[in-house]
């Protein structure tokens, strides 16, 4: 049953040291405010899961919160590499991060299997690809009808998933629109789910019947954080802050500059600061 909580409480109650946590978003709707709250709370030893770890994962890894990363594409979208992740993987700074690497198809299927309550996902993948050699969590099953060998990966089942969405209604039902990515599956696959939303509306009457709605009993906590996806975007609310992604490339290039930036923009900030960051990005 979804309860409405301030973000600090929602994170405190649902994210613990050692958890497997997914902060999902596919370029769109990245739960930045939730990730920053987790950084402020100094959570440790996380296994971070995400198809497309980007700036917020770079930040969490740079702050030494993650001992492990499960992913399929780690890049600053539209810009290039993730420099904090590179520093952790190449130099063990500030701590080594173990890597479990998949393809997008595998991760998408693994989340889908998690949502579907299955122990593993079966798909046609990794043929000739070398990840199957270096990742022991890539195995195979044989189709009992055709004999074809198919790839199998374990289902993703996070302890907690964080997503950002457009809106909740007063009962705690959640609407996700536009590029819905893997967010629904990430919520349904998780033991607990925390959703930040742009706003709360009375109810969802009048919505088209086939939209992506998460019933309130699939969500643990909801926090209202306008702008909470910045510098990512929220379809229908505000645009992507492309300049921030470019700026990150420079911030993350240097350890000291990174730490100073985090102190200023994350440690000394709060969820309420996000609304101001997207003010200039809202549609006229």
């Amino acid at each position: 049953m979804a309860c409405f909580l301030p973000l600090s409480e929602a994170v405190k109650e649902n994210l613990r040291d050692g958890d497997t946590a997914a902060f999902e978003g596919f370029t769109h709707l990245i739960p930045t405010a939730a990730a920053h709250e987790a950084i402020r709370q100094g959570v440790k030893d996380l296994t971070l899961v995400r198809m497309t770890p980007d700036v917020v994962y770079d930040q969490m890894i740079g702050m030494g919160m993650a001992s492990r990363l499960v992913f399929s594409y780690a890049g600053n979208p539209g810009v290039g590499l993730l420099r904090r992740l590179r520093d952790a993987v190449e130099n063990g700074w500030p701590r080594p991060v173990e890597i479990e690497e998949h393809s997008h198809a595998a991760m998408a299927n693994a989340y889908e299997a998690g949502a579907a309550g299955l122990p593993c996902a079966v798909f046609r993948g990794y043929r000739g690809a070398e990840l199957a050699r270096v990742n022991p969590n890539i195995k195979s099953v044989t189709c009992p009808f055709t004999g074809e060998e198919l790839a199998a990966v374990p289902a993703v089942r996070p302890d907690v998933t964080f997503i950002h969405a457009q809106k909740a209604d007063k009962k705690g039902n959640v609407l996700v629109e536009g590029i819905v990515g893997i967010q629904k599956e990430a919520v349904l696959a998780a033991k607990r789910a925390v959703v930040t939303v742009e706003e709360v509306v009375e109810d969802f009457s009048g919505l088209h019947p086939n939209l992506c709605v998460l019933p309130h009993w699939t969500v643990t906590a909801i926090s209202v954080v306008p702008g909470g996806a910045h510098p990512s975007y929220t379809h229908g609310y505000y645009a992507r802050d492309n300049a921030a992604y470019l700026e990150w490339d420079e911030v993350a290039a240097d350890r000291e500059r990174f730490r100073a930036w985090m102190e200023e923009n994350v440690m000394k900030a709060g969820p309420d600061d996000f609304a101001g960051r997207v003010a200039g990005l809202r549609a006229a």
């Binding site: 890049g75 190449e90 492309n242």
Partner: protein, 267 residues
């Protein structure tokens, strides 16, 4: 004919390989530009699909990432990511998978994972994203990249996605029944795999490019076709379409210009 850059020639040559009948899984950067130039010129009905779930998209400006709002706004429909990989890619509905590469070998095998050893990488690259399955589930694969000895290498450090493996019938031996890489478009030339060995062979040089220029920027001994053609230069329409697209893109991505120019791929 205006002057044009090698990069523009690359993008335009790549766009010519696409038709209105194609259903194209598009990577960001040069592939994205080529696909959209094709759509805006000779292939208005081409279906462009980005792995974020946008099907039949027609962006007015080039996206910076595979998940830009513009892609969703102009798409016929936007589906969840698991559906994208299950029904649309794995389902065999993609005619052309269009990939870039950090490292490429002469058999069209691609590395975007690491430079150096996987466990102790010299450079940790972003990883494969959709590429491993794009490379095997798409009807055929087009590759586009700017030539360099660092990028076009005798031996890639990691097989992120499988092209023709060791060449010949290696795909068939792995049970892969799609064609794999059938076209490589660089800033200097158009390459096609030899029918037997599957080694990429230069079939057309872009205007003003010599064999030596191709060899100097390629890490393996280059094979040239017996009947070597010259790529027709960009037409006025092609060039103005590409430049208008880039100008609109730069204007739309205020402050995003460098990234758009860099055309970095993302997952």
């Amino acid at each position: 004919m205006s002057d044009f850059t090698p990069n523009e020639m690359m993008t335009i040559a790549a766009s010519r390989a696409l038709t209105s009948e194609d259903v194209c899984f598009v990577g960001i950067g040069a592939p994205s530009a080529a696909c959209n130039v094709a759509r805006l010129t000779h292939a208005p009905d081409i279906t462009l699909i980005y792995e974020s779930g946008t099907i039949g998209t027609a962006p007015d400006v080039l996206p910076l990432s595979i998940g830009d709002g513009e892609l969703c706004d102009t798409a016929l429909t936007t589906v969840p990511v698991p559906e994208m990989f299950r029904y649309w890619l794995q389902g065999g509905r993609i005619t052309i998978g269009f990939l870039g590469a950090a490292q490429l070998d002469k058999y069209g095998n691609i590395n975007t994972t690491v430079v150096g050893d996987y466990e102790k990488p010299k450079v940790r690259l972003p990883g494969g994203g959709g590429a491993p399955e794009i490379a095997t589930s798409s009807g055929q694969v087009y590759i586009t990249m700017a030539q360099s000895k660092r990028g076009m290498v005798e031996k890639i450090d990691f097989f992120t996605s499988f092209g023709h493996g060791e060449g010949g019938d290696h795909r068939k031996r792995l049970g892969i029944d799609t064609k794999g890489p059938t076209l490589l478009i660089t800033d200097l030339a158009i390459w096609k795999p030899d029918p037997e060995t599957k080694e990429f062979t230069v079939v057309s040089l872009h205007p003003g490019v010599t064999r030596e220029m191709v060899q100097e920027t390629c890490g393996w001994p280059v094979k040239f076709a017996v009947e070597l053609e010259e790529t027709p230069p960009p037409t006025e329409l092609e060039l103005s379409t590409l430049r208008d697209l880039k100008a609109r893109t730069d204007a739309a991505h205020k402050g995003g210009g460098p990234a758009a120019k860099r055309g970095a791929k993302d997952g």
